[in-house]
């Protein structure tokens, strides 16, 4: 992307609208949070929230603090570890169930019984049966993405236009060639969608798991991930830091989704032409 292209994008109407909305939001927040101080009347709900200026001051102090960045690092590690495992196991599993009736018959019923169990309901059990806290958090994170990825891959691979398969077959393609050059690319859009949804769930799950399990192996300290960061701020009574933690998760989730979108776009160039 050239510089002018980038600045075009930065000052485009859409970007301006977005920036304007954020500025207005922060202003309303500031006024609401300072209502008691400024008007002698505390606005309901928002009057109890720390004002954004205080939050930013607190954030400024944290930026130089390595343990804050350690929280980012730990959460990212868990999210991408669990997510990568979910992809590595989930994509082949979905494909296998789609192309092989026997596998579908064996796997799908158990899968469907396990799927409605929320990942967070696994937290106590996984703390018991995984040797380390770290592994139990990673496992719960894995579950968050796993079901969504499998269901999407299975659905995508099963809904391939029958004529694509017949056309390939009649041109003399082998089963392997059909799988590699028809089934796989035809399923890619579903894999990308499933991964994007799975990534969102992963962030929800990792934060909750960190809160419940007390931050994993390095627990106790501030190196326990963003979820634990929020929890320990709450316990320590630092309300500004709670908000910092929340916004940090929002930004982290956005970065993850954007990375995934870019990668997905590279993998499925034909969809851009729509």
């Amino acid at each position: 992307m050239s510089v002018s292209n980038f600045s075009d994008k930065l000052f485009s109407k859409a970007a301006m609208r977005g920036i304007f909305a954020i500025v207005v939001f922060v202003l309303i927040w500031e006024v609401g949070a300072r209502s008691e101080q400024w008007f002698g009347y505390r606005f309901p709900f928002i009057g109890l929230v720390p004002p954004p200026t205080d939050v930013f001051v607190s954030w400024g102090g944290l930026i130089a603090d390595p343990s804050y960045w350690q929280s980012w690092y730990m959460s990212f590690l868990r999210v991408f570890g669990g997510f990568a495992a979910a992809m590595v196991i989930g994509i082949p599993m979905g494909l296998l169930m789609a192309v092989n009736k026997a596998s579908y018959g064996i796997i799908f019923p158990s899968f469907e019984v396990l799927r409605p169990i929320p990942p967070l309901a696994w937290v106590p059990a996984s703390i018991i049966f995984w040797p380390t806290q770290e592994l139990s958090i990673a496992f719960v994170t894995f579950l968050g993405a796993f079901y969504t990825i499998v269901i999407n891959v299975l659905g995508g691979a099963k809904s391939i236009n029958k004529q694509f398969l017949q056309a390939a077959q009649s041109m003399g393609a082998s089963q392997w060639d059909i799988f590699r050059r028809i089934v796989l690319p035809a399923t890619l859009p579903s894999i990308v969608v499933g991964s994007a949804v799975g990534m969102g769930i992963t962030w929800e799950v990792v934060v909750a798991a960190e809160m419940i399990s007390g931050g994993g192996s390095s627990g106790g300290g501030a190196g326990g991930g963003l979820g634990f960061f929020i929890w320990s701020s709450y316990v320590g009574g630092s309300y500004e830091q709670i908000i910092v933690g929340m916004i940090s998760i929002g930004i982290a989730g956005y970065i993850s989704s954007e990375l995934l979108r870019q990668l997905g776009g590279l993998l499925t160039p034909w969809l851009k032409t729509r």
Binding site: Q166, A168, S170, M171, G172, A173, I182, P185, W270, T273
Partner: protein, 295 residues
């Protein structure tokens, strides 16, 4: 789109002419479902797709023509009866009988060029000869400028031409086309008729073309098979002896074409009425009264 200039753009020649090949269907029947839900789609149907002729099959929509294509292509097998190609029974799909489906079956994730090269690559024939043939066909269907475009970036008519090229590169003995120009606007449709007719006239390979459009059928066909309503079988065969090459402008004023059209319409109208009434007495009475008034 510009189909008239295609004929002048010929970088070199390649022959797609095939040895004679004939498909014979004898007393075939096919039904779907089981028990009380069984539905007879093809009933004791016999017909011949003669060698080096363009055979068009026409019948009311939903009459089981697509099922016949599934059987001839070898994707499914008949419950009874036989289908042979040059005397050998058809046991499965093969590159000797390629199908152009109703809706575009171009692979959306491949460019025009990759789509055309799919067959040779799938068979491990990704060699200089195939590449040369692909180039020739790209030029022949006028899509050189669109070689790196994905199917969705092509117009409906371009997609159909790309699909013709993708089939032709495999040099099939028989080309099977299932309502290939359905859904195109009238202008592109007529251009495609002329374009496809010219392609056929060049090599006179065995072609089997299925349609519900009478004008399309008469313009293209050497032989016309008229099918009955469900369960389908062949009701009559008309030889279309209008000389080739055929052009859209001539056919409108051709007395012979108009006679054939009347004959075909009468036959198809009867079948369509059966299909419309669907066994209901009231609907049959209504249609009877209607046709008396109209007739």
């Amino acid at each position: 789109m510009n189909t008239t200039t295609q004929d002048s753009v010929k970088p070199k020649t390649a022959s797609f002419a095939q040895a004679s090949s004939e498909i014979v269907a004898t007393n075939i029947s096919k039904s779907y479902g089981a028990g009380p839900f069984a539905k007879q789609v093809v009933d004791n149907c016999s017909f011949t797709i003669e060698s080096n002729k363009l055979t068009v099959m026409i019948g009311p929509s939903g009459c089981g023509k697509s099922t016949l294509i599934q059987l001839i292509a070898g994707f499914e097998s008949p419950d009874s009866g036989t289908i042979t190609m040059n005397g050998n029974p058809i046991t499965g799909p093969g590159k000797d009988r390629l199908v152009l489906f109703q809706e575009s079956a171009l692979f959306p994730w491949m460019t025009t060029y990759d789509n055309i090269m799919y067959g040779p690559r799938a068979r491990g024939e990704d060699n200089a000869e195939s590449v040369e043939l692909a180039e020739f066909l790209l030029a022949k269907v006028g899509l050189e400028a669109f070689r790196d475009k994905y199917p969705q970036q092509l117009s409906g008519g371009m997609q159909r031409r790309a699909e013709l090229a993708r089939a032709m590169i495999n040099k099939p003995e028989v080309m099977i086309l299932d309502e290939p120009f359905r859904g195109l606007d009238n202008m592109s449709k007529e251009l495609m008729w002329e374009y496809y007719a010219a392609l056929y006239e060049e090599d006179k390979n065995t072609n089997f073309f299925v349609t519900t459009d009478i004008d399309e059928a008469i313009f293209l066909a050497d032989r016309l098979l008229i099918m009955t309503n469900l369960p389908t079988n062949c009701r009559s065969v008309i030889e279309i002896d209008i000389p080739r090459p055929r052009r859209i402008d001539d056919i409108g004023n051709n007395a012979r074409a108009n006679d054939i059209k009347k004959e075909v319409m009468t036959l198809l109208h009867e079948e369509a009425m059966k299909s419309f009434s669907g066994g209901s007495k009231a609907a049959a009475d209504f249609l009877d009264a209607y046709s008396k008034r109209a007739g």
